[in-house]
Amino acid sequence: MTKLVRKVRVVNPQGLHTRPATAIVKLLCNCKSDVRFQLKKDVVNAKSILSLLMLAAAKNSVITVTIDGEDAEDMMAKVVHAFQTGFGE
């Protein structure tokens, strides 16, 4: 079991809105690990689109991604890549 923690920045102009949130949930749908996003004090389950939207992460906010589980490394790489490329927007 691996537990990884990384910080990522939201580059999308409208922040982590519906489309990026949808992309994250899709990305994680076969993920076996537990994935948490933290923004300031709020920690949410990244597999819940509603929770992601409730983070209300604006552009340039910094999110702490915590992935805990067997496919943590693979998933972390994918999540970081998705954030860096602005979820293809």
């Binding site: 519906t18 949808t22 689109i49 509603l50 939207l53 409730m54 209300a56």
Partner: protein
């Protein structure tokens, strides 16, 4: 609270034959108040299953909607629906609600509603207005799921989830026309009768339909399947496993039988002793022509020109009509098309120039009566039809003729329009046959006179039965009186056919009676040579024709004419059909 698990049989009036198994969707009802109910512990699992079903129905709906948008390439919409699908899978919606139903032992709609409300509060606290707005998506989804939980539905009929049994106080012809057969598997209504136009459309599409059901009785909230038996008029709510199995097998059996018949589509429609019958199709919409081709119909025996245009809309212009009629002519090639001029008024209304309040619309201002008065509009339709004449094999039919004078007046206008078109060098076919509908007793009794003035007769039995028996065909309480098996109707048909045959004028039957295989031998025995029916009935009726001998049919008709009541005639015909086609489970059960 009623016992929700007991199997419940309800008896209604069978309108359209067939068996359906599906889930109830209530049409046009006000949103119900959500009440809080406590559940006994043993019902909790069932409640959770019901909740999951509601979610899965909601997802099915969105998937269907998404496909439509994808087809129309509405990319933005597809993205939104994708996020809706994910919200429906969100653990905050799924797991949380389920856990709470279990912990609180409360009904699903109540728990779900409280979860959505909490969610709303959290979103309202967000400082960013963009994210606050996202709550609207959840609200929309919440509404969709709630509808499945409390059985109310406001989505249009073409967006139904698959296997929907549509429950409504009443259905109009446009409701039924809009319905997608692949989604709606049955209709249940409180009002409505076998011969209403809505029922005819349902029959044309082959959607089982039962009316005369007290809607309150089928509305108790539960999640399971409901069975509709359109042959007997039975509705089974909360069926047991055994009942479900039995009906599934029967449904399969009917399906197999129909498939066997459709596979014989290439065979001739002739009796086994070689009497050839012209088998044509009644058509409302362009897309139905496919069915006609598939089952090798001999042409369009009745094109209901008014059906393709929306109700309540302004009257269609000549060009709009021409554009549509040309498409029909293109598709049919050399096969004949009978254009029936607009049959509006009665239960089919348009926003026409002059509308009058009528206490008795079926005896009032409709069909040819309306067209003869709205002369410019009538001429526009005739022009639109005539302009297609040189490209195909077209015929013109006037509806609701009640006297020779009316027929002559309509023909005179037709000649006027032809002359106008010729003077404008618009090409016309050299001979365009003109026909007269026989659907009023006064027309039937003067069939000999009408036959002299036209090229063909077409018996519309639906109205003929209504006018002969003085029974409003849309009246729920009079269903038992409305029957084409009444001796008066049989005698009228015999009279019309023999007069037409004497005058060497072909006569066609285009009413519902033509689509009921139990009547096929009788009609052939009375001397009918052409039947026009909804395309999907072509295989069944062709089968009935091929199993009949013309000699036997003549004898059968003689026997029927000696019977004195509708009930006797109906029983006699049913028994005969049972002998003829015992394998047809749709009529023999």
């Amino acid at each position: 609270m009623k016992n929700q698990s007991a199997e419940l049989y309800l008896q209604g009036t069978p309108i359209c034959r067939g068996i359906a198994i599906g889930n109830l969707i209530v049409l046009h009802r006000q949103e119900q108040h959500i009440s809080e109910q406590s559940l006994p512990i043993e019902k909790v699992d069932a409640e959770i299953r019901r909740f999951r079903q509601a979610i899965s129905k909601g997802k099915d709906e969105i998937h269907a909607l998404k496909q439509r948008l994808q087809k129309d390439r509405i990319v933005e919409g597809v993205a939104i629906l994708d996020s809706h699908l994910q919200i429906m899978d969100d653990p905050m919606i799924t797991t949380d609600v389920e856990e709470r139903i279990r912990a609180l032992q409360k009904n699903a709609e109540f728990v779900f509603k409280s979860v959505v409300t909490e969610c709303q509060k959290q979103f309202e606290l967000l400082p960013d207005p963009y994210f606050r707005e996202r709550f609207k998506d959840i609200e929309e989804i919440g509404r969709r799921i709630s509808h499945h939980l409390i059985f109310t539905h406001k989505t249009p009929l073409h967006q139904l989830p698959p296997d929907s049994i549509v429950l409504a106080t009443d259905l109009n012809v446009f409701d039924t026309a809009e319905i997608d057969k692949t989604l709606a598997c049955a209709f249940i209504t409180q009002h409505g009768s076998a011969a209403s136009h809505a029922a005819i459309v349902a029959k044309g599409k082959g959607i089982p339909y039962v009316s005369g059901i007290n809607l309150e009785q089928v509305q108790s909230p539960h999640g399971g399947a409901v069975i509709v038996d359109g042959r007997t008029g039975q509705i089974i709510v909360n069926p047991t496993e055994d009942t479900l199995k039995k009906y599934k097998e029967m449904k399969e059996g009917l399906h197999d039988h129909y498939r066997t018949l459709t596979n014989r589509g290439g065979l001739q429609s002739e009796t086994f002793d070689g009497y050839r019958v012209q088998l044509s199709a009644n058509i409302d919409l362009l897309r139905e022509v496919e069915g006609l081709n598939q089952f090798r119909g001999h042409g369009i025996g009745l094109l209901r020109t008014e059906s393709a245009f929306a109700s309540g809309a302004p009257l269609p212009s000549e060009e709009e009509q021409y554009a549509l009629y040309s498409k029909f002519v293109d598709k049919l090639g050399s096969l004949p098309i009978v254009f029936r001029t607009f049959d509006i008024g009665g239960d089919k209304q348009f926003r026409h120039a002059q509308q009058v309040a009528e206490s008795n619309p079926f005896l009032g201002y409709r069909a040819i009566r309306l067209m003869l008065r709205e002369r410019e509009f009538f001429k526009a339709q005739l022009r639109a039809i005539l302009r297609t004449s040189h490209q195909g094999n077209i015929r013109i039919l006037f509806p609701m003729i009640s006297s020779v004078a009316e027929l002559l007046e309509a023909k005179e206008i037709l000649e006027e329009v032809k002359a106008e078109l010729r003077s404008q060098q618009i090409p016309l076919a050299p001979h365009i046959p003109v026909g007269c509908m026989v659907e009023v007793p006064s027309a039937a009794m003067t069939a000999d006179l009408l036959a002299k003035e036209c090229d063909f007769l077409s018996i519309g039995t639906n109205d003929l039965v209504q006018y002969t028996l003085a029974v409003d065909r849309t009246h729920t309480f009079l269903n038992h009186l409305y029957t084409p098996a009444h001796p008066a109707v049989v005698r009228l048909i015999r009279y019309v056919v023999s007069e037409a045959n004497r005058a060497h004028v072909p006569v066609c039957i285009c009413g519902e009676i033509a689509a009921d295989p139990r009547y096929t031998p009788l009609l052939l025995g009375l001397g009918i040579q052409e039947l026009s029916i909804a395309p999907r009935h072509l295989p069944t009726i062709k089968n009935a024709i091929r199993k009949t001998s013309i000699v036997g049919a003549t004898r059968l008709a003689e026997a029927v004419l000696k019977l004195s009541s509708a009930a006797e005639i109906e029983q006699f015909l049913t028994n005969e059909y049972q002998r003829l086609a015992p394998e047809d489970g749709l009529y023999n059960h």
